[in-house]
């Protein structure tokens, strides 16, 4: 509390000066005040709030009376420092939280000295003198310096000199530079460009002379003309304002006579439109400034999205130049839109999203179970499928048999991590039966609010020249491939909770994803706190059975697993390896067996965990069968 007082007495107005009024304001139905309500606000914020809250109302009242004395806010700030600290001292006395006056004074002096030091650093004539100047000298030099500045600035000499930190002209440039935009004035009746600032040459690449006097509509995307007309129009194209009720969020129709209000001088406008970009000059620059254009279609290369904000204004015709004289013959007043056009920051994210994406890349989105829910159109050129054809099918149907263990492993991983996960190169069956080698980067999208996985986004890159896209029957490189993939699965296996990823368990490719997704769901069900993932019985299980991951994993299976099952497993393993792609639909009944085997393999020490796994397997199994029944078996 004493720190708070000190801060206030410093005249340092803002630090921690958040009083209970904020809360009060909220209570008054200030529904939009977003005072960090949603945040698990940081300790600092909480502290500020707390300090605000424990202030009794009485004190607040007294502060208010002190502070609201000057009506203009500006003046409020200009109160003498001394006054302020005295005033605060009174409060301090009242509150018995008194800090020694000398302390406060010392802080004030220190602050003043710092300011003087900084000031001396800014004055050229102070610089040559290396020794520290005394306060009075610094002040004197500062006055001199400011006087000299005044003399050199021409704008100060002007008659209608309005004192401000920046001359108007520089302010305008500053505005346009900060906003990265251009100012334009357009007549409302015909869309004639009355004025456009110089900076348009930087943003749209037109010289200013080219544009002035032209119709704005000539420079707007044909499909946006209606939109812009609507914004320029005074007439009642859309007679009713669309308003939203702040409480319910429902839209209400305002019954106000809005027509007049809309067009009156000062009415705000804000809209997007696509404007023509002059490409005639240096090509490279075009690409640099509007990279969105280079990757998008030809047409959009010529247009860039401009966000126009501004307001309506009526000028008496006399103020306008002769050029505009004819425009306002009809009325004595010339209505126009004054707006700043800012090239949409779009270029930036679009650039990141699109430029990075090479033509040999495409993006897909899968549900948790691996079914395509979204396919980028670029997939068509690479895979031959239209998005329509891929959608709704499982990505596992297209993977090469040898890559299934690896990909299933990655699939499991991606569902459990927030990071992006790279797959190894794998083969993906194209529409024409051949395989194309892809490498993917997967990440699971977690809803920021619910913290639940919604789907998996995959960026797929075509890898050329690595093994190539051989036909499915290419036996020669299959052994080596399968070995590597097996190695992968060996490495990865210990991390995976639940069922083993041995290829033998994969009966129907499409169901693998479902199984994995169910695994996750079960996993989450059993471990309500996902953060404790590492401490789950599964990971213990995994740690305990490093041997299980070896080639001879079957042998370590404990007594519950019968030899027959092991044999069946290795058999099917063989079989599935030998069968060409899609031949995995062989042993239907084997699957349940093998899954149990997969469970047994874990050499479970804890019976509970074993039961849990078996239960989950039964569930997935049931699911699997159901799924398999639904699918047509002609792969």
């Amino acid at each position: 509390m004493s720190a708070r007082n000190a801060a206030a007495s410093d005249g340092d107005r803002a630090s921690g000066e958040q009083s209970g009024d904020v809360l009060e304001e909220d209570l008054q139905g200030h529904s939009l005040s977003v005072s960090g309500l949603l945040t698990p606000s940081s300790a600092a914020a909480a502290a500020a709030m707390a300090s605000g809250m424990d202030m009794p109302r009485k004190r607040k009242g007294s502060m208010d009376s002190q502070d609201t004395k000057p009506l203009v806010l500006m003046d409020e700030d200009m109160e003498d420092d001394q006054d302020r600290s005295e005033g605060d001292d009174q409060h301090v006395k009242i509150k018995c939280f008194r800090e020694p006056h000398s302390q406060i004074e010392k802080r004030r002096r220190d602050k003043m000295n710092n300011l003087i030091d900084e000031l001396s650093g800014m004055i050229p004539s102070c610089n040559p003198m290396s020794r520290k100047l005394d306060k009075l000298t610094v002040l004197r030099l500062a006055v001199q310096h400011l006087k000299s500045l005044k003399g050199t600035t021409s704008s100060f000499a002007e008659a209608n000199y309005k004192p401000s930190f920046l001359p108007d002209d520089e302010l305008k440039h500053l505005v346009l530079r900060a906003a990265d935009g251009f100012l334009f004035v357009v007549g409302c009746d015909r869309g004639k460009i009355v004025f456009v600032s110089e900076s348009v040459s930087k943003t749209l690449n037109y010289s200013r002379a080219e544009l002035i006097g032209q119709s704005l509509f000539d420079y707007i995307h044909p499909k946006d003309i209606g939109k812009v007309k609507e914004q320029l129009s005074a007439s009642e194209l859309y007679p009713r304002e669309r308003l939203i009720d702040a409480k319910t969020g429902l839209q209400v129709q305002a019954d106000l006579p809005v027509g007049a209000a809309r067009f009156c001088s000062g009415a705000r406008r804000s809209f997007f439109c696509r404007m023509k970009y002059n490409r005639i000059t240096v090509k490279t620059e075009t690409d640099k400034d509007f990279p969105s254009g280079s990757t998008k279609k030809k047409e959009s290369q010529r247009y860039c999205t401009v966000h126009c904000t501004g307001y309506m204004r009526t000028w008496p015709s006399s103020q306008l130049g002769c050029e505009e004289a004819e425009a306002d013959k009809e009325s004595s007043h010339f209505s126009c839109l004054v707006a700043v056009g800012r090239v949409h920051p779009s270029s930036a994210p679009q650039l990141n999203g699109e430029v990075k994406v090479k033509p040999t890349e495409f993006i897909t989105r899968c549900a948790m179970d691996g079914k395509f829910t979204y396919v980028d159109q670029r997939a068509t050129t690479i895979l031959g499928y239209l998005p329509q054809e891929l959608l709704g099918t499982s990505c596992y149907e297209y993977f090469h048999q040898d890559d299934l263990p690896h990909l299933a492993d990655r699939h499991r991983k991606v569902l459990r991590t927030k990071e992006k996960i790279e797959t190894n190169c794998y083969k993906f069956k194209t529409k024409y039966g051949s395989f194309v080698t892809l490498q993917s980067q997967w990440f699971s999208f977690i809803n920021p609010w619910t913290k639940e996985v919604e789907y998996i986004v995959s960026t797929n890159t075509v890898i050329f020249g690595k093994g190539g896209a051989s036909g499915s029957g290419d036996k020669s490189d299959q052994p080596s491939n399968s070995r590597t993939s097996q190695d992968d699965s060996k490495k990865a296996l210990p991390i995976i909770p639940g069922i083993s990823t041995t290829p033998g368990t994969m009966i129907y490719a499409g169901s693998i994803g479902t199984q994995i997704a169910n695994e996750l769901l079960d996993f989450n069900r059993m471990n309500p706190s996902p953060s404790s993932g590492n401490g789950s019985p599964f990971s213990m299980l995994q740690d305990k059975s490093p041997l299980a991951s070896t080639q001879s994993n079957c042998s370590v299976a404990n007594g519950e697993v019968t030899d027959m099952e092991i044999a069946g497993k290795s058999n099917s393993e063989e079989e599935s390896r030998n069968t060409p792609f899609g031949g995995g639909d062989s042993l239907m009944e084997g699957s349940s067996q093998l899954d149990l085997d997969g469970a047994g393999l874990g050499s479970l020490s804890s019976d509970e965990a074993a039961m849990a796994v078996i239960m989950s397997l039964l569930e997935t199994d049931a699911n699997l069968v159901g799924e398999a029944m639904d699918f047509d078996w002609s792969m």
Partner: protein, 402 residues
């Protein structure tokens, strides 16, 4: 006796000394006050303000003025535009913006704020100039500001080609104007979310910099700070290319404006309970998620442009202004209101990207009598344009067979 006498002599002596020093101090103070007064007069501010400034404020403003000048008058010499025109249009540019300009030093000191700030935030520029931005912003956002102000990484490129490092972030700043337009005391100020865009730049100017700054460049950040209009926005009419949607906090759509029918082809009922994340283009998921995160923390956000899938295939580019509405009684977030402005028309409308789009197309094939939404119809008509012509799936390139 002697002791007493000496005491008596020494007392007036010390008193005289005290008196003298008091005199000197008074003289010094009056001199100082006079200088402060002169300095205040030299400030480019109206008399009404300068006469009320305290000493600290005078120095604060003088410093900021010098910094402003250093920053902006040493730069490029702007070509002076035609006098008549510039006189008329100079103040216009500021009014056209839906925000104010803020110039910060690397320490976070506010060098300059445009006058129109008071209309948005209630605070006057004089209250802020020379103070630190951290005193006026939400503690939780200080990290973001710090990060934006740091030239780490950006410095190299700044030094090399003088290019500016772009900045785009959100902060919550103290605002003394309530939603109802009431002005409150700074102490009871609420927070307002500002969308800050601009750039960080470093200037090396030996002419004006002091020895310290020969070593380190003068780093400044120029920002355009735009408040995000809250849903009951009386000022600007909502364009016909904007549709309004309501979402639950996880971005599932609760309700939608009828206009979405003509803009995207969806019937509002089609959309209810669907997640916004299902509807957006896969490449844009990170953009949407980032905005959603900010929205959950701050309560308001403006998304960058992203693509939203249209019902019958294809997508549109949209930009969304989102606001969280609070339950006034329980102070809990209730729902999200989005104003979605269409930036483009439906692009690649012949292509189904998502399962839902495919289903919609199939449905459409089944019931051919159902009329196409107007926008899509337009797009089909426009197929004669070169853009759409090449997009015909039948002319698609054969797949790559390396």
């Amino acid at each position: 006796m002697t002791a007493v006498e000496s005491k008596g002599v020494s007392r007036p002596l010390s008193e005289r000394r005290k008196e003298r020093s008091r005199e000197a101090a008074r003289f010094r103070r009056s001199k100082e006050a006079e200088l402060f007064c002169q300095l205040a007069q030299q400030l480019p501010l109206p008399e009404s303000i300068t006469s009320h400034l305290d000493k600290a404020s005078i120095i604060r403003l003088a410093l900021s003025y010098l910094r402003t000048r250093k920053l902006f008058t040493t730069g490029v010499c702007y070509p002076s535009s035609q006098a008549a025109e510039s006189k008329q249009t100079n103040p216009l540019s500021l009014q056209s913006l839906e925000g104010f300009l803020l110039v910060l030093m690397s320490s976070g000191d506010i060098i300059y704020v445009t006058e129109n700030m008071s209309t948005f935030m209630g605070l006057s520029p004089m209250e802020l100039i020379g103070h630190n931005i951290y005193d006026f912003t939400h503690p939780c956002d200080h990290g973001d500001i710090q990060e934006s102000l740091s030239i780490r990484g950006a410095l190299y490129s700044l030094r090399r080609d003088g290019r500016k490092a772009k900045r785009d972030f959100f902060i919550r700043m103290k605002c003394t104007v309530t939603n109802r337009g009431r002005t409150v005391n700074l102490k009871s100020a609420g927070w307002k979310v500002l969308h800050c865009t601009g750039h960080l730049s470093a200037t090396y100017n030996p002419a004006f910099s002091c020895p310290i700054e020969y070593v380190s460049p003068f780093v400044s950040m120029m920002l355009l700070c735009e408040p995000i209009p809250a849903p009951p926005r009386p000022d600007a009419p909502i364009s016909s290319h904007v549709f309004i949607s309501q979402h639950s906090m996880d971005m599932k759509i609760i309700g939608c404006d009828d206009r979405v029918i003509s803009l995207l082809g969806y019937h509002p009922d089609d959309l209810s309970r669907r997640s916004m994340y299902e509807l957006c283009h896969a490449s844009d998921v990170p953009i949407v998620a980032r905005s959603h995160k900010i929205l959950c923390v701050m309560g308001q956000v403006v998304s960058g442009p992203y693509r939203l899938l249209a019902k019958q295939g294809g997508y549109v580019w949209i930009e969304t202004q989102a606001t969280v509405l609070q339950d006034t009684r329980h102070h809990r977030p209730q729902l999200i209101i989005c104003l979605n402005a269409l930036v483009s028309n439906v692009e690649k409308c012949w292509m189904a990207f998502s399962v839902e789009q495919r289903e919609a197309v199939q449905m459409d094939r089944c019931q051919t009598d159902r009329p196409l939404p107007s926008v899509l119809k337009q797009e089909h008509v426009a197929n004669s344009q070169p853009e759409e012509a090449t997009c015909n799936p039948s002319i698609c390139e054969p797949p790559m067979c390396p």
